[in-house]
């Protein structure tokens, strides 16, 4: 009985090994071996892949494989769903087809933390059919996911990573193949500080972040610029994502009596901060300022009357193309996008379409070859792309947003109680 059991286990093991083995030997040589395949099927002009980091070969009928790496569950689900919806709309806009092949979209949930980013990066990098990735949602995810994705030769473009390190060529977090349509914090923090000091005449300010690389670096850039202009930073405080009670930290900030509170964080914490700051003794008249993370149409209502007069620095997205995107969202998903990155994700997806179409080599039988290095080179050299978030041009480090479209918005009674959206841009550089 016992030996039969052992035999059964061995059989199962053998089966598992047999199932694993071909996959294990098949995967690595694919990029180099695949170009030989068209010759075997006697295509007239055999494509030779000469790209430095390989090509993606898409046989007739096979889909062009795009992927997303977004935070689509948990507390930050709204940020990722926002971008994913825009990617789906961009795919619908081209009829679900590229170069005569159907487009397929798969994705990984990145959970807005480094662990999630690493897991997603590992899984995506292991799939050689992926041409390009839209992601990640949070800067912490990009940091962990980019090493694998870069080494796999893929390109990734983020709609919402703003941490400066990711496109700083001297920083270890900078990897080839990384791009973003999101605005680098270096622009945004400077714009916010200049607006506060020069326009509003504020001399003292406190900052608040939530421990995320996004908020931490943005408030630091703001603080550095604000100090350089001659202002004083009274406190640089922090809260945790998931906190609801801000009374303590507000009381602590109130002891420095700042004229302005800069909190470039997200919902729902941003709403709690705005609401509770105004009811803290000593902060009744503080000027509130946030950033693009809070430029969501749900925020004014959620923050309540405290948000009247609040400033938000953000890429200024408006215009007929943007309205058209919102209309498509309404038809496809109903309602409005849950967060503020759909326009950047839409642009990122369309930039990928243009780049893939430009560099792809199509055989007579319809097989598409996408050389990976050529795709990167095309993106690094992208100029004057007419996106809905402004005119985009990628630099040699992967920053595609030029910062020209940055503006400062002010929330008024119309947004907070009247349901008006978006608010007016009151200042642009």
């Amino acid at each position: 009985m016992k030996s039969r059991m052992l035999f059964a286990v061995l059989i199962v093991l053998a089966l598992v090994l047999a199932a694993c083995a071909p996959a294990a030997t098949e995967a690595p040589p694919e990029p180099t071996a695949a170009p030989a395949a068209p010759a075997a099927t006697a295509a007239p002009a055999a494509f030779e892949c000469t790209d430095a980091i390989g090509c993606v070969d898409i046989a007739p009928g096979d889909p062009v494989h795009l992927a997303y790496a977004l935070s689509v569950s948990g507390a930050t689900a709204g940020l990722g769903e926002d971008a994913r919806g825009a990617i789906e709309i961009a795919i619908d806009d081209v009829g679900g087809q590229l170069l005569g092949h159907p487009l397929s979209l798969t994705g990984e949930d990145t959970l807005c933390n480094a662990e999630g980013g690493q897991a997603a990066g590992t899984k995506l990098a292991a799939d050689p059919t992926i041409v390009a990735i839209v992601g990640t949602t949070c800067s912490s995810e990009a940091r962990a996911a980019m090493p694998q994705i870069s080494q796999a030769g893929m390109v990734m473009m983020s709609a919402s990573n703003t941490n400066p390190d990711l496109t700083n060529p001297d920083h270890p977090d900078h990897w080839p193949g990384y791009f973003r349509t999101a605005t680098n914090d270096i622009f945004q923090g400077r714009v916010a500080a200049e607006f506060a000091y020069n326009e509003l005449g504020v001399k003292t300010a406190a900052t608040l972040h939530d421990g995320s690389p996004y908020a931490e670096s943005l408030q630091q850039v703001f603080a550095d610029n604000f100090t350089a202009l001659g202002g004083t930073i009274t406190a640089q405080e922090a809260i945790n994502v998931g906190d609801t009670d801000m009374t303590g930290v507000m009381t602590s900030i109130a002891t420095g009596a700042p004229e302005m509170l800069y909190f470039p964080i997200f919902e729902p914490e941003g709403g709690f901060v705005a609401d509770q700051a105004k009811s803290t003794p000593g902060l009744e008249n503080v000027i509130l300022m946030g950033a693009d993370g809070l430029l969501a149409d749900t925020f004014p209502e959620n923050a309540g009357p405290a948000a009247i007069g609040m400033y938000l620095s953000s890429p200024a997205v408006s215009g007929p193309e943007y309205d058209a995107l919102l209309a498509k969202w309404k038809t496809k998903f109903g309602g409005v996008p849950p967060s503020g990155y759909h326009a950047m994700a839409y642009d990122a997806t369309n930039i990928f379409f243009q780049a893939i179409e430009a560099v792809a080599v199509v055989d007579a039988d319809g097989t598409v070859h996408v050389p990976r290095q050529a795709l990167r080179d095309y993106l690094y050299a992208l100029k004057d792309y007419p996106g809905i978030t402004g005119t985009l041009a990628c630099d040699a480090n992967g920053d595609c947003a030029t910062g020209e479209a940055l503006g400062v918005f002010q929330l008024t009674e119309a947004e907070v109680t009247g349901g008006n959206w978006p608010p007016k841009v009151i200042w642009q550089q």
Binding site: T247, D275, G304
Partner: protein, 353 residues
Amino acid sequence: MRRFFERYDLVDVIMWLIAATILIAALLGSIKTIQSGKYSPATWVDLGISGLTQGSVYALIALGYTMVYGVLRMINFAHSEVFMSGAFIGYFAATWMAASGFMERNPLLGLILLFLVAALTSVTIAVLLERIAYRRLRRAPRLVPLITAIGASLFLQYMFRGLFGSQVRSYPPMPGLEGAISLPGGVEIEYVQILVIVAAALMMLVLYLFTQRTRAGLALRAVSEDKDVAALMGIDVDATIVRTFVIGGAFAGMAGVLYALIYRQVTFYMGFVPGIKAFTAAVLGGIGNLPGAMLGGLTLGVTESVGTILFLDGYGVPAPYQLKDGIAFVVLVLILILRPTGILGERLSRTKA
């Protein structure tokens, strides 16, 4: 010395040393903070009141954890979603009443209706949970219902996300609850805070009287002592367990509304953090013990609010509020070292150990 080591092993001694270090560090930090004079007495009172407010909500949720543990010996991890569902459905009721002008005309009746709607939702979900997920597992090993509870929790979270989306929604302003009372000395108490503290205290009093003075309460206590013997005494165990879920659910639902009145925002994920904190509060007070859950909730709320500044600010820690949860859990560890059964956990340990 030898007799000392016979009675207490090395681990005990190390644990006491850790506890003593924490206590001394907290004491030194407090002295430094108070000496710095950065915070006025009124500030401390403000912090204390906001801690009590937060703690009242923790306590109400903690009651659900502790009652279910009392009768079933399981941690109902889906309880945080029972709380969330009450607050979430309450949002729809509140916006509807605000939009139709009903809330403006009858603020008190509107508020009571809001509590009823939320309580009803949470009770329904809690009872369904018991019926569908837990009842069949009552004789299963203890880990099985625990894992089921985690599964049920995720199911409820993502069911709400699927039904209502992932965006943050906010309660409309409640007429009559805006503003604050100014007390002499610069202390300000918001009306919402008063409502939350008073409502929570009343609800806890009612529950205490129910368990101590009614036959149904007696049955509940009997079932938590020993299900089998209680059944032999003619108590309907199933009905009593359902009753436990009804009470726990109702409290969670009303806690949801109170929470939403303070913070105004609801999302499908809002139950997670308060749920963990309430569970901590239940353990802190002594799990299975009703007054313990109340005391644990209030202790945790005040520690988070007052303790964070008091213990850390004097050391010049940058951004002490990021360590708020850390402080809360250090207090839990400290109490579990000094009193492994929780603050009021003795009665449980004597009868159940």
